[in-house]
Point group: C2
Chain length 554, copies 2
């Protein structure tokens, strides 16, 4: 029996998962939170856009969770750590880390330990919205092809926006960095003992639209373009990378030091690091015609189209990258900047409830009728990633009366995320990418039948749930299994190692009808506040909501 190890770096914690290569059985797993900041995130009370992470946290927590997972797996007869044949890593992104010439994260050096700009710039950091807007503007004018595949809008969540913002606001921190490495590339490189950023094997998945890397235009953006941003960025290009690899490639082999720390065999292969959602899609059975939604603090939607087919640029869809999810396919990635984060904000930050409240509200919310509250919300508390691609948008709740309850607002926020999900599906299909089935992964999909039913009713699609509750880590382990030669290719590895749960959520016709009306109103607000419609007629919106409410009350 052979086993592989999947390591999944989330926003608040890292998880290790030991999987049997033959059938995907999960023998051991362990999750460890990051010790610093607020639930692992370094915040600035003065700027809600800022979100950083201490790179040292990643390594401390990694050791603990791998040791924990191995200890659990050891309880299964036949398991031996020596039989672990490969490691796969996925992380959040774009989460670039400034590193020195020895590939050390400068945020871990004593001098920079307290400087927020020297830490990892977490995916959800939006401090660089001005830079993102300027990159979009310059690209539209001088290199329109750069952004055609990412919805014609470069995001403040991405590589160049963040690095440029660092350069503009903290030259010392920028100067201390010899290079910048994505978290998803850095972790495999650390495990492989890579001591020079030039030797870090980069994944196409993060390089793709996030760093504007594409073989068609010779890799990273040309120096002439980067110099329009700042000559120092053009100079940095030489200290970054010239190649990026899909999951068929390897990031290296486990070095002796980390083999010892983790209790694993030295020299086993490490798969190319990918974004969490991409390996999550793999672990959920991504295939042509299947949309995988990884629902967590934010949501990512993944689809694939064979490279033999032509894929149009899809306006507002943030990433279409060859090989990003599955080798041999275009990976199409969309997403919502906040989903679970919005629910957490409402229940915990605003209402002051503890985590137990979700369970108590689940039934109360499930028993309500669509439209019965008269509420409508926009799911933009962290901006809009797909379709509008604008971090300068914010949340909205409309239709409140003096009787509106916290449970009703909670449901309206859930519905808002479902409307956002529907907008993405409709946009993808409009541009010729069929969505025949939807598989959801992530804790929310598993724990909340209420939410899944709302998603089915709002989108009009049957919702399936990934068989593994650790789909990202499982996908990373699938990739490691293929790399280690335990399966001949990705599709056969997926057939052997992944599944969906028997319970499916089917759309209910009556609820769909009401949600079609609410969705039309949602899109009216979406287009008005999103700038699609600059002459919006909202005069009937509140009355329409009251009429839907009354029709559901009678």
């Amino acid at each position: 029996m052979k086993f592989s190890l999947g390591i999944d770096y989330g926003t608040n914690s890292v998880r290790a998962l030991i999987v049997r290569c033959s059938d995907g059985a999960e023998l051991g797993s362990c999750t460890v939170g990051y010790p610093s900041g607020k639930e692992g995130v370094l915040l600035d009370p003065k700027d809600p856009h800022l979100a950083r992470q201490h790179p040292g946290d990643y390594l401390k927590s990694l050791e603990k969770c791998v040791v924990g997972a191995l200890a659990e797996a050891a309880k299964t007869r036949g398991f031996r750590a020596e039989a672990v044949v490969g490691i796969g890593v996925d992380t959040t992104g774009s989460s670039p880390i400034p590193v020195d010439a020895s590939n050390r994260a400068i945020g871990m050096l004593p001098k920079w330990r307290k400087n927020l700009n020297a830490q990892c710039w977490l995916w959800k950091d939006h401090t660089s919205w001005r830079e993102a807007a300027r990159i979009t503007e310059l690209a539209a004018q001088h290199r329109p092809h750069f952004i055609a595949k990412c919805g014609n809008t470069y995001s403040s969540e991405w590589f160049w926006s963040k690095i440029w913002h660092c350069l503009k606001t903290d030259r010392a921190a920028f100067g201390a960095a010899h290079s910048w490495v994505e978290l998803s590339d850095w972790i495999p490189s650390v495990l492989a003992g890579v001591g020079d950023p030039a030797d870090v094997r980069r994944g196409i998945c993060a390089a793709g639209h996030k760093a504007l890397f594409c073989d068609e235009w010779g890799g990273l953006p040309d120096k002439e373009f980067l110099a329009m941003l700042d000559p120092k960025l053009a100079a940095l290009r030489d200290r970054l990378y010239a190649d990026a690899h899909d999951a068929n490639g390897s990031a290296g082999a486990l070095c002796p030091a980390w083999a010892k720390r983790l209790g694993l065999p030295t020299g086993i292969p490490i798969a190319i690091g990918e974004m969490d959602v991409h390996y999550g899609a793999l672990g959920s059975g991504i295939a042509e015609g299947t949309l995988v939604k990884v629902i967590g603090t934010s949501t990512c939607d993944c689809a694939v189209v064979p490279v033999t087919k032509n894929v149009a640029d899809i306006p507002g869809i943030c990433g279409i990258v060859k090989g990003a999810i599955l080798p041999g396919f275009y990976g199409i990635e969309a997403g919502q900047s906040a989903v679970g984060d919005i629910f957490k904000w409402w229940i915990e930050t605003v209402c002051g409830g503890d985590a137990g409240v979700y369970g108590r509200l689940e039934k109360e919310v499930a028993a309500e009728l669509p439209g019965r509250s008269g509420l409508l919300a926009l799911d933009w508390n962290n901006g809009n990633r797909t379709i509008l691609v604008n971090p300068m948008l914010t949340g909205l709740v409309l239709g409140t009366t003096l009787q509106t309850t916290r449970a009703e607002i909670y449901r309206a926020l859930i519905e808002a995320t479902a409307f956002g999900a529907r907008a993405i599906i409709e946009r993808i299909e409009e541009y010729g990418v069929p969505v025949k089935r939807v598989v959801c992964a992530g804790g929310i999909a598993e724990k909340s039948p209420m939410l899944m039913q709302i998603y089915a009713d709002v989108t009009g699609r049957t919702m399936q749930v990934a068989g593994s509750s650790q789909a990202c880590a499982l996908g990373a382990a699938v990739s490691a299994s293929v790399l280690a030669g335990e399966h001949r290719d990705f599709p056969s590895a997926q057939r052997a190692m992944t599944s969906v749960k028997p319970l499916q959520y089917r759309p209910r016709p009556a609820a769909r009808k009401t949600y079609d009306k609410l969705y039309a109103l949602y899109m009216t607000l979406h287009d008005a506040f999103g700038g699609v419609n600059k002459a919006a007629d909202l005069s009937g919106t509140m009355r329409d909501l009251i009429e839907i409410r009354q029709s559901q009350t009678r």
Copy 2:
């Protein structure tokens, strides 16, 4: 020494106040809640528009609070109940009560005790919004002068809307009513022992725009018009009233039975009943050039203009009635459908806080900078009474992020009510009614310096606070004093008996500047959702709020 008694019926309780006629000294007061429903209001969980009250509650609580106030006054040397020379009554409105031929509230009869439609239809009941819209439509077509003085819109809060809705939805309850009497007329009539609705002395204050009564067109709306609504309403006209009186008139004399119940001299005069805010304006020193804001669950704004001057009809201002506030003046009334109610909704209903939370939040909210939260709200949780005159509008909160706190939303709601207040002042001034000073009355004005400062900053006017914390009851007592001959007219009674507090709130230039920007955004939303602008450009609204937030953060 002579004394007068002011009785003030609020939304949740009734207050009695014993006042010395010579100087307005308040010797005794007592407040008693209504025993039925939720804090005295009968609700229907299926319809947030419904709000009724049990008429029996009014009488039970009246006896208790008068006895309580007399007991407290008795502690002052020189006070004797025999020296009480008059009674004044104010109430909420329009709050019509169905009565039988003996002037008994039918809701108090055993057969009708449980029927919500047989109770008093509380001012904030909005069930009759369809009828209000139809009355507006018919009046615009056939009798435009009927609604010209109430902003060209008849309200669902008013007399005819409510009675028509009762007729349409509960013919039995309508049929059981011989007549309908406003609460402000009914209480004085009960105290005077009036046993026939035809003998009830009606106040012009409630009759005015609420029942569309005007001497110019021969009193109540003509039968031909009422028959367009329903022939039964035309027939009802004969069982209503032909005259209505200003505060120079009397509602009758205290009958022996009630004199005994209350412990007061038989035969003392009872002043004409008025709306709470109108007597509140009197008790706060209303005069030409002074706007009185009574800030409670909702807000009413009162101004007066001498009858010798010409007053234009002001679009969206709900009542311009000769004699309604002060004899010899046009009374101009505007208001916001929910103010304190919105704060209570947020803190208690949504956040689950107790009443103590307000005090804890007061300092936290006061310490924040305008615009710092990035939030903007509309104060329409109970519709919009003045300017849009539309109960089919609802609340909105915009600009939320994942960091937004309950305190920030609380402040945004307070600011929203301040923006609504500013819109009213600007509308009145635009039509030639000067606002030289603003005097605020009501518990909120007294207890929340934070709110008063925000109101000053938003409106750009100095805010004064009425000297009495019981301005409505004091105004009723002032009216009773004049009627009893203790003062020769209203202005001299006001000079002797009313005052403002020494502490004033002055607008701060920096805050004004920020609030001018936020107010412009508020009006953009106001006009877009209120139907004033049917081609609204909201594409920059969220970005503008973020920019204001950032300018306040730096």
